[in-house]
């Protein structure tokens, strides 16, 4: 009698492989739950901070480039004006010297 019951229980509780549909449902459910948990853990402001950092970095880059352009233009301008002024001064000195020379020879 006891032996029969035991046999009966063994038959009823034998290990059975799950059906493919059950496995698929289980895995899908797990994936959804995992995704929800990850989204809940990620702060909402992170993408915005990332975007703001990119915008800020781009802005700083542009500002730095413009600053460099202005500095270069500034330096070039001062050098150009210096050379111009020096060249005019050479002409002025030459004309003055020629004037004095002509004066000395004439008088």
């Amino acid at each position: 009698m006891t032996h029969d019951l035991e046999q009966e229980l063994r038959r009823a509780l034998r290990p059975v492989d799950p059906s493919p549909e059950f496995t698929a449902r289980m895995l899908t459910g797990l994936a959804i739950r995992r995704g929800a948990a990850t989204a809940a853990r990620r702060p909402w402001w992170r993408p915005m901070a990332l975007a703001a950092s990119v915008v800020l970095a781009s802005g700083l880059g542009v500002l730095f480039y413009q600053q460099q352009q202005r500095e270069r233009a500034h330096a070039q301008l001062l050098e150009a004006l210096t050379i111009t002024s020096r060249s005019l001064d050479r002409a002025y000195q030459a004309v003055r010297w020629h004037g004095n020379d002509a004066g000395e020879h004439g008088g």
């Binding site: 001062l78 150009a80 210096t82 002024s85 005019l88 001064d89 030459a94």
Partner: protein
Amino acid sequence: MSCARRSVGWRTLCAASAAACLSSLASGAELRLPAFDSLRAKASDSVVISLDADMLKLAGQFLDPADPGDANARAAIRGLTSIYVRSFSFEKPYQVPSTEIATLRSQLAAPLWQRVVQTHSEADHSDVDIYLAADTEHAQGLVIIVTEPREFTVVSISGAIDLARLHSLQGHLGVPRLPATK
């Protein structure tokens, strides 16, 4: 009414013509400077500066009004539309670039351009030529060609030019005034 309207139209036409003349004079005063590649290759020191209207504006924004040198520079560039400089220094005497100078001089023709200064010093072996493009009242273009035994410089400036102010800049931009040659 119709007479007044005709008068306004006539004035507009005159103003437009004057503006067109001035702009053609200004654009005519802008030269195409040769590259002077042969000089650049042999020069110990070369300065090639091309500042068009946009670059002048950009540089002008960076000038500090509190700094006397910058204030002078700002006043000097007011009204200018371009500055081009080609300056080469050599350690030993160089071959004057006659072809490029001839190309340049061919653009400096009358009636727009007049050679206002031409000096030659036998003692220093130097030449200075100054060409000016001017209407009845204002200088619109200036070209300076300085040829010395170890230095060659060409400066071309267009726009409303104040020669006295440009000359007075020396000694105000951190560069000492040159001693008198004689």
